[in-house]
């Protein structure tokens, strides 16, 4: 059975691209969220195998969302999506419980490698 994924990013563009990359690799994107609050809600609701999480989002950023999700589900597998120059934030996200990260601009191969690592 394919793994289920929740894609969180405030840009439709990014959501579409990540979803496409993952779908083509056989994952099942079961939900999308465009704010941190939505990410937390949808995680509770969908219990996905994997979450991709943008850092900069309105209405609760990605890091707080990671913190919130990991507080409730310490085993949540969250992949951060970051831009160059966001190192400190990525570190913060890792400390909050994120399992790995990819850096924009995305290369499908790197995204999929990171996903494999996260899913272990």
């Amino acid at each position: 059975m394919s793994h289920t994924v929740l894609v969180c990013d405030d840009a439709i563009f990014m959501r579409t691209m990540i979803s496409d990359i993952l779908t083509q690799a056989g994952f099942e994107v079961v939900g999308e969220a465009e704010t941190g609050v939505q990410a937390v809600e949808k995680f509770r609701q969908l219990k996905p195998d994997l979450v991709t999480m943008d850092i900069v989002m309105p209405d609760m950023g990605g890091i707080d969302a990671v913190r919130e999700i990991c507080r409730e589900s310490p085993d949540a597998k969250i992949l951060m999506c970051s831009a160059m120059g966001q190192q400190a934030l990525v570190v913060e996200a890792i400390q909050a419980g994120a399992k790995d990260f990819v850096v924009k601009p995305f290369q499908p191969s790197r995204v999929l490698e990171a996903v494999q690592r996260v899913l272990g």
Binding site: D10, F13, M17, I21, M60, A83, Q87, A88, D100
Partner: protein, 647 residues
């Protein structure tokens, strides 16, 4: 990966972000203390940068990066929103807009931001705080400031002797992005195996500039070497892992000059997905045909009252109505999507003309059919420009007339019955009717007997194509330019325009628009053997025409209804209908468009229905009385009368 299919999405979303930026910049300018505006700006530009980089639009991404950098610096430095910075950012937004368009058109390589990058850089440098000694980064423990180590000083060596466990040396692939973050991940993997101590360089300094991806630590875990290596390699991007390393490689690393992470702030406007308008249109037109088919079905069902067909017809009818309502709902778009670009335009023009203007928008959440809304941008912008240019006076002139120096311009949207009224209201000098009247007389637009230019007449005069372009009328120069275009656009969508202007107090334009284009509730009227449709939203009431008291106004027939004189329009005469018998008691439809009324006399009324408005090719000479046509349930075409043309 084929990026082309993302280009449209990139374009649409980038433009949206940039529009937001314009709005936020103006908010910020008004309220320099607002951190929310800056946070929103940062977020929008940050998103744009990510998208541009992903699309491979390097130049655009670079400009976005520099803009983001300036915003970051301003925010960190708590610098006030000086006019200089706002102007520079506005310029940057303009350039980004250009860049987005060019990139989407396949010409990112040709995008030339000029000296903007340098200007942004300089501004960022000026706005940034002086490099703070021991700058404390958010999320770090203040008690553990990064060690003040200079490149020259030797690194303190960890004292491995006092700790248990094996020494592990890790090297991250030097080309991996965000080396420090990757090192943190590797460390986390190690921590899952056992106790980690003596991390060198300290993990708190992994993310400083100059970290080269090499670090060591001591791991006390009940596992073998291969397990340690496998666990750490699972962190990804690992060049090498050595266990029981005897030497500790340290890198030269420096304290960062200034790097403050971005924090996210709340913002509105989410929860929507974008649907290609063509898809909605296609859906709408299919539902339109479904409505026609349903109407036909209902007619057939009437042949068999009480039968199964009637019950089925009623059920299908309900379903179609629900579906239709849903799709219309999906087409409804809040007006802010068009209004959003106006504050910037008004501000720029006001600045250019040396006017002080407080521009306000109301009812931005009011929704309209997207097909209508998309057509409204230019007419509205035109009216706003006119107000700024000609309606509102310069500060000194206003003061001479006892007005506050700052002029007020309000753009509002409001639901009124089944239509939406969009108003543009200024408190400027008003339209000089005498000058307009004189000019209209000279041009023969009105007869020499006209003494007063009423609001209605004023609109008719201003709305004549080309009126006042021939020469400038002192204080109202250009007032009429393009008003005809506004009228045409609005009326083409079944709407109406009104004008009200008071000397010294200002001018208000009202654009009245139907909520949706596609479906219209109409009253079917019989005239002779023909049928015509009237939009129900403009029918104020129906009266028994032949028993109403008559009068005449300046030779025009009128009825008197509740002490109000209402001019009569005989559709028979107007439309040149001659067949059929004229019944002795005819209904009159009182149409109301704004504050204008007329009583339209028809032979009989045949009930109400919903129709799908269809375009038709009006041949030359067609009476300018129709806003569209439709296909009735029996399959025959019928013309829809334009209420605004009848009053």
């Amino acid at each position: 990966m084929d990026l082309n299919k993302y280009a449209a999405l990139f374009l649409a979303e980038s433009r949206e972000h940039l529009t937001t930026c314009n709005r936020l910049l103006l908010d910020w300018e008004r309220e320099p203390g607002s951190t929310e505006a800056v946070a929103g700006l940062f977020r929008a530009i940050h998103s744009l940068k990510g998208m541009a980089a992903t699309m491979g639009y390097g130049r655009l991404a670079d400009l976005a990066h520099r803009t983001e950098h300036l915003l970051d610096a301003v925010r960190a430095g708590r610098a006030p929103a000086g006019a200089g910075v706002v102007d520079l950012l506005l310029k940057a937004i303009d350039a980004l807009e250009r860049g987005v368009d060019e990139a989407a058109a396949g010409a990112d390589g040709g995008f030339d931001p000029g000296d903007l990058p340098a200007a942004l850089e300089a501004a960022a440098a000026a706005a940034a705080p002086t490099p703070a000694k021991g700058a404390v980064r958010k999320g770090k423990k203040a008690a553990e400031p990064p060690a003040p180590v200079s490149a020259a000083a030797p690194l303190p060596m960890p004292d491995f002797g006092e700790e248990a466990g094996r020494v592990v040396r890790v090297e991250i692939r030097p080309d991996a992005p965000l080396l420090g973050a990757r090192a943190h991940l590797a460390l986390r993997r190690a921590e899952q195996l056992g106790k980690v101590t003596g991390v060198m360089p300290p993990a708190a300094n992994f993310d400083v500039q100059g970290f080269d991806g090499r670090f060591t630590f001591r791991l006390d875990a009940p596992v073998g070497e291969s397990q340690i290596i496998a666990a750490i390699e699972a962190a990804g991007e690992i060049a090498s892992v050595a266990v029981d390393a005897d030497t500790v490689q340290t890198a030269e690393w420096r304290i960062p000059s200034a790097a403050v992470p971005a924090a996210a702030a709340p913002s509105a406007r989410s929860g929507q997905i974008r649907v290609d308008r063509r898809r909605l249109d296609a859906l709408m037109s299919q539902v339109g045909e479904l409505v026609v088919a349903r109407n036909r079905l209902l007619e057939l069902a009437q042949l068999d009252p009480g039968g199964e067909l009637e019950a089925l017809g009623a059920r299908i009818s309900r379903l179609v109505s629900d579906l239709q309502a849903e799709i219309i709902e999906a087409r409804m778009t809040p007006v802010w999507q068009v209004f959003d670009r106006f504050p910037r335009a008004v501000r720029d023009l006001a600045r250019h003309l040396g006017k002080q203007i407080r521009f306000e928008m109301e009812g931005e959440g009011i929704e309209l059919d997207r097909a209508i809304l998309d057509e409204l941008g230019d007419p509205l912008l035109h009216l706003l420009r006119n107000a700024v240019d000609h309606g509102l006076e310069p500060p000194d002139e206003r003061q001479r007339h006892g007005k506050p120096p700052e002029g007020r311009l309000v753009l509002s949207a409001a639901r009124e019955h089944s239509s939406v009224a969009i108003r543009i209201q200024d408190d400027g000098r008003g339209i000089d009717r005498r000058a307009i009247l004189a000019k209209a007389k000279r041009e023969g637009v009105v007869g020499p007997e006209v003494e007063i230019l009423t609001d209605d007449l004023l609109l008719k005069v201003l709305g004549r194509p080309g009126f006042s372009t021939a020469e400038r009328v002192s204080s109202v120069s250009g007032r009429g330019v393009g008003i005809d275009v506004v009228l045409t656009k609005v009326r083409a969508h079944g709407g109406a325009v009104e004008i009200a202007s008071t000397p010294g107090q200002g001018t208000t334009f009202t654009l009245r628009l139907p909520l949706t284009l596609a479906i219209l509730r109409v009253l079917t009227a019989r005239v002779g053997t023909e049928r015509y449709l009237l939009p129900l939203s403009y029918v104020a009431e129906t009266v028994e025409f032949d028993v109403q008291p008559r009068t005449d106004v300046k030779g025009r027939e009128a009825i008197v209804l509740r002490e109000r004189v209402i001019p009569i329009v005989h559709l028979r005469a107007l439309l040149g209908v001659d067949g059929g018998e004229v019944p002795p008691r005819r209904p009159g439809l009182v149409l109301e468009v704004g504050d204008r009324r007329s009583a339209v006399v028809v032979d009989s009324l045949m009930g109400q229905q919903e129709v799908v408005v269809e375009p038709f090719d009006a041949p030359k000479g067609t009476a300018p009385l129709f806003s569209g046509a439709t296909i009735l349930a029996d399959g025959t075409p019928a013309l829809i009368l334009d209420a605004a043309a009848l009053v």
